[in-house]
């Protein structure tokens, strides 16, 4: 996490942005629905499944102009193909204080992943909303669309700071009440909420659309290497626990963490949330370009 006064490096570099243009978010429901059995095109405008027109607005891809209508009516219309029925992608970013902890810290990692997924969605024509939450949902940015909005998204993410303690349930409930229909909701969080995660995940899956969970933990949280006697103080509620780090206690912690992750997986399976466990040990670009593609979440 960047210190005050310290200039942070850009979340995404140009090389990665260029690669984002070749990717698209894969909606599991859409693949299973109308486009069953069809190969989905990576590029817009190449499909022959004409669906509809809409008025041209500045920024639309000129390759999709319907020149026939322009010739007849001298009005600009953009062709809408089947797969271009407007899809929203909501990035739900956990901006609670716990995200700033860990080595390497999760906050940059989470923003990089959010920036990458947002860039991919914008590059493939999706609308993107960014919502951050800590103890409450904080709308940060309205719905954006188009490639040119990528930089705006990145800039907003770079300027974001972590907030207060985590309250998943009210935040996700508030999101669910105003979530766009049939959107892909991508929750990026460490799920460190003392109140529990089952109800928030249930709320997430209850809204119409598709839910993804990027469960993010830092390397130090996965593999603690401390020794001696420490007082671990919770960054959010300031409670503490005294721990004498022994191999036994570290082993016990890992066991608990594994159980916790297993519980998350089970809940996600129950609530039909696609989940992926991400460690800050793994560079974000590998997370996006390899892990998510292997999981079929990106194409």
């Amino acid at each position: 996490m960047s210190e005050v006064g310290e200039v942070e490096e850009p979340l995404l570099d140009e090389d990665f942005l260029a690669r984002c243009g070749k990717l698209a978010l894969l909606s599991r429901k859409m693949v299973q629905g109308k486009l069953r059995g069809e190969k989905r095109s990576r590029r817009r405008g190449m499909s022959t499944e004409f669906a509809d027109h809409r008025n041209y607005v500045a920024g639309d891809d000129l390759r999709h102009l319907d020149w026939n209508i322009y010739g007849r009516l001298e009005k600009l219309f953009i062709k809408l193909f089947e797969e271009e029925e407007e899809r929203s992608v909501v990035l739900l970013l956990d901006a609670s204080a716990s995200m700033a902890c860990g080595e390497p810290d999760k906050w940059r990692h989470a923003r990089q992943i959010a920036a990458a997924l947002g860039a991919i969605a914008l590059a493939s024509g999706d609308r993107v909303q960014l919502r951050v939450f800590d103890r409450e949902l904080r709308p940060v940015m309205g719905s954006i669309r188009g490639i040119r909005s990528i930089l705006k998204l990145i800039r907003i993410l770079e300027e974001l700071k972590v907030g207060n303690e985590t309250a998943l349930l009210p935040s996700i409930r508030a999101h669910a009440a105003s979530a766009p229909p049939r959107a892909i909701q991508i929750l990026i969080s460490d799920l460190m909420d003392p109140a529990g995660i089952e109800d928030p995940l249930r709320q997430l899956s209850g809204s119409r659309g598709e839910s993804w969970l990027i469960h993010l933990l830092s390397r130090s949280e996965e593999h603690p290497e401390e020794l001696g006697d420490l007082r671990l103080r919770d960054v959010e509620d300031q409670s503490f626990v005294d721990v004498s780090f022994t191999p036994t206690i570290i082993e016990a912690y890992r066991s608990i963490l594994a159980e916790y992750r297993e519980d998350v997986r089970k809940m996600c399976g129950r609530f039909q949330i696609q989940s992926v466990e991400v460690s800050t040990e793994v560079p974000f670009d590998r997370v996006v370009l390899e892990m998510l593609r292997q999981r079929g979440m990106l194409a």
Binding site: S98, P194, D229, L230, L232, V235, V241, D242, A252, L257
Partner: protein, 643 residues
């Protein structure tokens, strides 16, 4: 106990080395709490075994709890060895040593050393001079012993070591318990085979100027902590006076000075009458060990205070024995009723006695109810009523008081005298050889309650005191005319002494009361209040009034002339009656201050071999438990930080 102060740096070390945890900010403590709880629950015994730190803490707590229980080791008994410390506070302990300190100051230091030696054991302090007085009870709190010793001081009494040793032995015997056998083996019949054993020691802190032990072999160790080196001393060891048998009652004073050291001591002797010198000082050089007796004649009757002072040329180690006092007072007349047959020898004896008024009466003229008011003594010569009148003294000669001997007594011819009480004041100046085998016949009095023998033959008492209730007297078991006794000088001495004793009238000479001895004054009936004033005239002590007006108290440690005062009747303005009482040291044993290394007559029994198991003296273990607990806590800290 001061080595426990070493624990202070240990505590400071623990404080500075106290675990200070480094604080680390984490995203959440949820999983860590669950991990700790899980670990705690999972395998408690393995954790206990594996958790050396916890084990050490538990052992430290256990040791601390054991320390609070104050365990002791050593003897199998429930109590530790008993140490009885007898401290000599007699006059000789006031002797001044070469360094200017008195022996008692040295004795106090000696007692402190003994108390240091008996740490972990029990003790008791007893002071002894003329009287024996426990200063503490048996206690394991040795600070109480120290406090008692600090309050002690030497007096002017003589050393009554026998009573002190008897008291100590009695306490030690009461403390005896049955020990356990050495190898947990018991006798064949499974019963204890050892009698109660005494685990005690007696320390005697003294200069050794003590009379020998007069009892049996002493069963417990007696250790003499000898005090002092000085031996040069001289002083007055005897002073006596008596009135001559003259009309004026002239006085004859005899004084003995003794040099108890080895070197010659010179000095001079002063005699004062009522504070005024009545003779020139007599100078005398006394060789080592020499005894010098000097006699003075004083003319005239009346009451007088006589002081005798011995003034050595050089400073004396023990000044207390350099002065003595006497009181000579005019004795009041004794009213005597003479009843019985004609006896000219008895009448002659009665007639020569000064201050005796004799009235001859018949048996029929006696009124028992008024006899005590009319007479001090009734002399019965071969005639006696069935009931002797109460409240008056009786001298019965040649008759048997039926109240004490109702049955006939078999006659014995020419009885052989086997013993007589030479210390009895009535017999002090009598030689009874004249009645040894010379009495024609007698009816010896059997001894029974209320009767004590003054002179005895094998068959019974020839002279006896009888006393029961209001009836008291002296009886002679034979007709004096049937013996040569009346022809000897001892007979009138006996008669006079008997009359004074029975009349409770002094001879007019008050002497011989040593400090600590009993002062007894017969003030007569009707006494409402009595006080005793010390020689300085400052301190007054109320004296309880006993039946028949007897005033009895112990002579304190103050040497000099005390005043017994009493008042009769309820009138607060009634006159005080006074009697002067001189208190002197007059002790050759106390004046002989040369320290002695042992107590005569004490032979200790060697300590019993290990038939029973005593073990060592019990010692407290709680300091070791506490120190070990603290050590374990330090070890626990080291283990904790090095994991």
């Amino acid at each position: 106990m001061f080595w426990f102060l070493l624990l202070i740096p240990a505590v400071l070390l623990l404080w500075f080395l106290k675990i200070r945890r480094t604080e680390k900010i984490v995203a959440s403590t949820i999983l860590w709490r669950r991990a700790l709880q899980d670990e705690r629950v999972r395998s408690p015994f393995q954790r206990l075994l594996k958790n050396l730190v916890l084990l050490l803490q538990l052992i430290a707590v256990l040791l601390a709890v054991l320390a609070l229980a104050a365990p002791e080791s050593g003897s199998q008994r429930f109590t530790s060895r008993l140490n009885l410390i007898l401290v000599d506070t007699s006059a000789s302990m006031n002797s001044v040593e070469a360094d200017g300190r008195t022996r008692f100051e040295l004795a106090r230091e000696g007692v402190e050393e003994i108390i240091d030696e008996i740490t972990g054991e029990r003790g008791m302090v007893v002071r002894f001079s003329s009287r024996v007085e426990p200063m503490t009870s048996v206690t394991s709190d040795l600070s109480l012993l120290r406090k008692a010793v600090q309050g002690l001081s030497a007096g002017s009494g003589v050393s009554n070591i026998n009573d002190a040793l008897e008291l100590a032995l009695s306490i030690a015997k009461q403390d005896a318990v049955v020990p356990m056998l050495a190898n947990d083996s018991v006798s064949e019949d499974g019963e204890e085979v050892l009698p109660p054993q005494i685990d005690a020691r007696i320390y005697v802190v003294s200069d050794g100027a003590l009379p020998p032990w007069s009892g049996d072999s002493f069963p417990i160790p007696v250790l003499l902590h000898s005090i002092g080196d000085a031996s040069a001393n001289s002083g007055i060891v005897a002073l006596a006076a008596r009135r001559e048998f003259s009309e004026e009652g002239d006085l004859r004073v005899v004084v003995e000075i003794r040099n108890t050291g080895d070197e010659m001591i010179s000095g001079f002797l002063d005699l004062r009458l009522d504070g005024e010198p009545i003779a020139e000082s007599v100078q005398k050089d006394l060789e080592g060990g020499e005894r010098w007796t000097r006699s003075f004649a004083l003319q005239g009757g009346g009451q007088h205070q006589i002081e005798v002072h011995w003034n050595p040329d050089e400073t004396d180690a023990l000044p207390d024995d350099n002065s003595a006092w006497l009181i000579a007072s005019q004795p009041r007349s004794i009213r005597v009723a003479r009843v019985g047959k004609k006896n000219f020898l008895l009448d002659d004896a009665l007639s020569v006695l000064p201050s005796v008024v004799v009235e001859s009466i018949t048996l029929a003229e006696i009124d028992p109810e008024t006899a005590a008011d009319e007479f001090d003594v009734m002399v019965w010569d071969r005639e006696i009523p069935d009931q002797l009148p109460p409240g008056v003294g009786h001298l019965v000669i040649g008759a048997r008081p039926l109240q004490f001997w109702p049955d006939e007594i078999e006659m014995v011819s020419q009885p052989v005298l086997v013993a007589w009480q030479k210390d009895d004041p009535v017999l002090r100046f009598s030689q009874l050889n004249a009645i040894d085998g010379t009495v024609v016949e007698t009816f010896p009095f059997p001894l029974r309650p209320g009767v004590s023998a003054m002179a005895e033959c094998r068959e019974g008492a020839l002279l006896a005191r009888f006393n029961l209730g209001d009836v008291r007297g002296i009886a002679v078991a034979f007709d004096v005319l049937a013996s040569p006794w009346p022809l000897t000088p001892s007979f009138p001495f006996f008669v006079e002494a008997a009359l004074r004793d029975l009349a409770r009238v002094s001879s007019g000479i008050e002497s011989g009361i040593r400090s600590g001895d009993l002062i007894e004054v017969f003030a007569g009936a009707g006494v409402s209040r009595a006080v005793l004033t010390d020689p300085s005239g400052v301190q007054e002590v109320e004296i309880p009034v006993l039946p028949e007006g007897v005033l009895r108290t112990s002579a304190g440690d103050e040497l000099g002339i005390h005043t017994m005062s009493w008042r009769k009747g309820k009138d607060p303005d009634s006159e005080w009656i006074q009697q002067l009482i001189p208190v002197n040291l007059l002790s050759p044993e106390e004046s002989s201050i040369e320290p002695k290394p042992s107590i005569g007559g004490i032979t200790t029994v060697p300590e019993r071999e290990q038939e029973g198991f005593w073990g060592g003296a019990r010692s407290e273990l709680w300091p070791w438990f506490l120190a070990t607990a603290l050590f374990l806590m330090m070890l626990e800290w080291i283990v904790f930080h090095r994991r």
